[in-house]
Symmetry: C2
Subunit: 161 residues, 2 copies
């Protein structure tokens, strides 16, 4: 028997990044320049002193993920890259459609938190907000060859633009 | 009406860090030296190529959190530090008891992933595993004064030990 875990939406993302953008650009990972995280008023006090941190971890429900879930996926939907396990990617196609993104905190007014770098669509339900601290920042890391390759290509494009 | 989000456990933490340790040391945040993340066999293929990364983000359900949830808490249960909003802390006392920890990947054998630095108790249900990449590592950050103060004190203790 499967063990079920019931969570609740505590707020929503408000951004210019809509579902149409995903359909038009499935291979791109769009980092929103800035957007709003609007938390339900009942959690106003839970946001107290959040502005003591420069960065936050936003945990959200990728609510638009539907259809059959595959165990293995092409990284960033790039057919030219061989499929790998979903846990080795940040693909929304995963057993639990939870997104985790580190954002820069630009400011807060009451229950409205302005952030930079949140790559989730308008209307995305928020599950949690955590402060980003030193334990979240690892000095020496290595990533997969396809991640390095994708990064290198995106840099080339950026430089030539 | 509250919007409910239903997720499922995809595996469990196996560690020497039990509930008794939390009761004995409520103010300490214990970083396990090493432990195992045991994923259900049905997701074996989802783990494919995960060892291409040095670090992983483990997302888990803090299933032992019970009782009345307060909007504001003392950071690390330290009564001498004034209460702040739960979102400004990593306290388990938060609207959705989701934990997010960055760990070092030590190795994998089939569905068993050996990691370093996971601070969750034995038996904790796993929700997701993601690769830790450059987007998760922020160069210039600042944290709250109480986080800096707690870190400074723990360093003093470590140095004097």
């Amino acid at each position: 028997m499967e063990s079920k875990i019931v969570l609740k939406s505590i707020g929503k993302v408000q951004s210019d990044f809509g579902e149409d953008d995903i359909i038009r650009h499935p291979t791109r990972r769009v980092s929103m320049v800035s957007g709003l995280v609007i938390i339900d008023h009942r959690f106003n006090a839970t946001l107290n002193r959040i502005e003591s941190y420069s960065h936050l971890i936003i945990i959200y429900h990728m609510h638009k993920v539907t259809g059959v879930k595959e165990l293995k996926v092409h990284p960033r939907v790039r057919k030219e890259i061989a499929k790998v396990g979903g846990f080795a990617t940040r693909s929304p196609n995963r057993p639990n459609p939870i997104g985790v993104t580190v954002v820069k905190l630009l400011g807060r007014r009451g229950n409205i938190v302005k952030v930079e770098g949140l790559d989730s669509v308008n209307g995305t339900p928020i599950l949690d907000i955590k402060p980003y601290t030193y334990a979240d920042r690892k000095a020496k890391i290595h990533v997969s060859e396809w991640t390095r390759s994708l990064l290198k290509n995106s840099r080339t494009v950026a430089n030539s633009a």
